[in-house]
Amino acid sequence: MGNRVYTRREFIKTLSVAAATGAAFSSLSSCTKEAREEFLQKRFVEMTDAEKKGVIARLEEKYRRAYGKQFQISTQGARPKTLWGYGLDLSRCIGCRRCVYACVKENNQSRYDPQLQWIRVIRLKKGSLINLEDSEHYYNPQEVPEPGFTYQPVQCQHCENPPCVKVCPVKATWKEPDGIVVVDYNWCIGCRYCMAACPYKGRVFNWADPKLPPEEANTAVHYLGNRPRYRNVVEKCTFCIQRVRSGRYPACVEACPTGSRKFGNLLDENSEIRYIIQHKRVFRMKEDLNTEPKFYYFFAT
């Protein structure tokens, strides 16, 4: 030990460090391998391909045990020269909510208790179109469209300058190179700061364990998209990342019976969304907030 006096302060420091390591070691070794791997998992963007494969295998096994089905979890990356844009024809939306339930079915959302929906259709009085304070989204008439009202579906606008990404304290949500704002459900800590930051109410939270009946589960999923989520994470529209990266339309676009929804690549001059922006009267919601959403509302007639 030498000539130096061993003080009480040093003794307590050494003791607490030893106790902390001992506790960590015992807790990590006493839980299952799966739980330990999940706890020590890195952020998705920092993982190597080999680590991603390991994570996918572990998750597929976990889902197989929970739902009895073999899920295919894709980690397909963004295509080059792509920026996804969405178009919504307000002259044709009748507020039937088929898009809402098609999204729920495609994206494995919690169904009955709690009920999570990524698309919210608001009913606005004609003549005061952007008066959101007077809007109603619990409307339930016998038939739609009701005379004197227009309908506007709202979902995550996938902003180019997303406030939710700025405020996340752990960087569990980020904007992918093709413009889709995604959430890594294994990294999200559930603080809900992003929900407070979003001006469009685009995000929803899993307050309880999500209830997804196994027979209704969609097994073609993406790690950052529609794989079944857990309690305590935030989720939102991902532009059906599992579909669009293979060139398919999102589920809401296919479900709309009046053809109000359009989708395409903003960087492709021949795409439908570019034609709409060029030829129709487009606007975006809350443009004064400078979030630069990629969800364009327009009137085709």
Partner: protein
Amino acid sequence: MRRILMVSLCAVLVAFCLDLYAKSKQEDFPVPRPPFSEGIFPCSSCHAGMETNAKRRVLKDEHKNIVLKHAAEQRWCLDCHDAQNRDKLRLANGDHVDFEHSYELCGQCHGNIYRDWKAGIHGKRTGYFEGGQRMYMLCVNCHNPHDPAFKPLKPEPPPHRPLQKGPAHGK
């Protein structure tokens, strides 16, 4: 020799222009089979042996279920269906188109919708927008040509209010 070259060059140019013109007239879109009623097509299976009565009237014997509510004051059946060959549709100038190209008939009056449809921004889109089967739907896949006005739909249920346990959707 030079004259031959010039003449053949002109011929090639003329052929190219004609080809382009022909191609622009027959721009083809991949559409599904027209949604005929059961057993109604080909129409000539009944009409080939029948006399054509071109008098404008309400039909009494057959096709009674079709009531025209689509510019009914200005036209009747044989203005769109060809009187001599019922397997074809008739454009305003008398040209024939088959039912797979019925959009050319609709586009005569609904020009701005036709332009939007050709660009891919009118109507329902399904399937692949690139890299796969890009499908266009025919006008008649969504719009009934004899009675095109859409009937109102029953909306899907509203979201549950917070702190409310509602009945399951669909159950």
